[in-house]
């Protein structure tokens, strides 16, 4: 993982506050766990039926019946609980999930999120993403700032099928930390070594800038 991505993940980890119940989506969000302090009072949830995720285990120590939603062999901690898929999403939909971190194909300036379907190319189904995006109390996106072709992922309007409307609160990329506000995207922080112009050029919608110096992460 590049230094910029690693710093993005470390920065996102600082959003997690004591007492929270947090679901970390597959991919980059999962890595946030490596940046949490051992004594941090937090409960990690995975939608396939576990609250209190413990460390990921190497294959030779794995329990074949204990995985997270991404298929990684995880472990429990004192106070973990197992439950079925209905209870797992009951927790999500009823407001007991304080935060989720998700990947994105596109985020619109009004907070719309598209992260599950590229028609004609990639339609695996949304899994749990729709409920996580629509119902977590705070939805953070972790993503590269642009796609593989260099096109911006932060845009005025989503072109892909939506996961949920107006759901995204904050976006962490390898270039910036950006909030979704009633006035659209608001730049909060910028990655070390980049200029404001770099970020503006890589963003497909207007950016509100902070007053004074822009914090660096």
């Amino acid at each position: 993982m590049s230094g910029a991505k690693e710093r993005m993940v470390a920065r996102a980890a600082r959003e997690i506050r004591p007492g929270m119940v947090v679901n970390l989506g597959i991919g980059l969000p999962t890595r946030v766990v490596n940046h949490l302090a051992a004594d941090m009072p937090v409960c990690l949830h995975t939608e396939n039926g576990l609250s209190g995720i413990g460390p990921t285990l190497p294959i030779d120590q794995a329990d074949r019946n204990l995985i997270d939603a991404g298929g990684a062999y995880v472990s429990t901690v004192p106070g973990s609980a197992f439950f079925d898929s209905a209870a797992s999403f009951a927790l999500v939909r009823s407001g007991r999930l304080d935060m989720t971190m998700l990947g994105a194909f596109e985020v619109a300036q009004n907070g719309d999120l598209a992260n599950w379907k590229i028609p004609g190319r990639f339609s695996p189904g949304a899994g749990g993403a729709i409920e996580l995006a629509q119902k977590a109390r705070r939805v953070l996106v972790l993503s590269t700032h642009t796609d593989r072709k260099g096109n911006p992922k932060l845009i005025e309007n989503c072109t892909l099928p939506l996961t949920a409307r107006g759901c995204v609160d904050r976006i962490f990329t390898d270039m910036a930390v950006i909030d979704v506000t009633p006035e659209g995207f608001a730049l909060r922080e910028i990655a070390e070594g980049l200029t404001l112009d770099d970020v503006i050029k890589a963003t497909g919608a207007p950016l509100t800038l902070p007053e004074g110096e822009i914090p660096v992460f």
Binding site: A38, S51, G52, V77, P78, G79, S80, A87, F89
Partner: protein, 230 residues
């Protein structure tokens, strides 16, 4: 990471319940009724309450104390046949009573806890319980919409808990407790025993900790929890 600690003194937890609140109470008859949380609610004086409970307990027990002190405006329930005061207050118009079929009360509470807006059922379609409820057709068959129930607070009685709020219930004291423990903005569990984290194995947990806000350990049980000698 370690899991957060949610243990608090009972008075502090119950103080968050305001006048006019909707409060769910676990239990089917005696088993699972959170008698000591109800006593504390009584002591702190909240009034104008809407109570959601399977039954109204018996005279002199649990819900009946709240009724006797005039704290209850409305009761959402399935059967109050063992509480003459509840029936009398209903007949006199001193409390409003909304009856549900027992399993539909359970499902409405569960739906609230599961973040659903409603369930669709044919139970009671041919009875007066269908009055005033929206009718829909599903696959060409008549049914009705029973809206989800949520509460400002739920009082839960558990046999065992850990500090994170994982709960285990004893025998038929389970009943409405795990459903209500999902369905309120403020979930307070009284527990006969609070074990250290890990004291309940992940498979022993009936209610997962993320649903629970406060855990209160009971120093000892009151007589109300005892076997009823008839």
């Amino acid at each position: 990471m370690k899991l957060p600690d949610k243990t608090v003194p009972m008075a502090e937890a119950v103080a968050r319940v305001q006048d006019g609140a909707t409060v769910m109470l676990g239990g089917f008859g005696v088993p699972g009724t959170p008698f000591l949380l109800i006593q504390e609610l009584l002591r702190q004086g909240a009034r104008d309450l809407t109570i959601v409970k399977n039954d109204a307990n018996e005279t002199g027990m649990g819900v009946d104390h709240l009724l006797a002190e005039g704290r209850v405006a409305k009761l959402i329930t399935t059967h109050i046949g063992l509480n003459a005061r509840a029936i009398e207050m209903m007949n006199d118009g001193r409390i409003e009573v909304e009856f549900c079929a027992q399993g539909i009360l359970a499902e409405r509470i569960r739906a609230g806890g599961a973040g659903l807006q409603a369930i669709v059922t044919d139970i009671g379609l041919d009875t007066e319980l269908a009055n005033g409820k929206a009718k829909v057709e599903v696959d060409g068959k008549p049914a009705m919409i029973e809206t989800a129930l949520r509460a400002d607070a739920a009082f839960i009685h558990a046999a065992k808990a850990d500090p994170f709020g994982n709960l285990g219930y004893a025998a038929t004291a389970r009943n409405f407790n795990p459903l209500m423990a999902m369905a309120a903005d403020l979930v307070i569990a009284e527990a006969e025993t609070v074990l250290p984290l890990g004291g309940l194995t992940p498979d022993e947990v009936h209610t997962p900790g993320p649903f629970v806000d406060h855990v209160v350990e009971l120093a000892e049980l009151s007589e109300e929890y005892d076997i009823v000698r008839r």
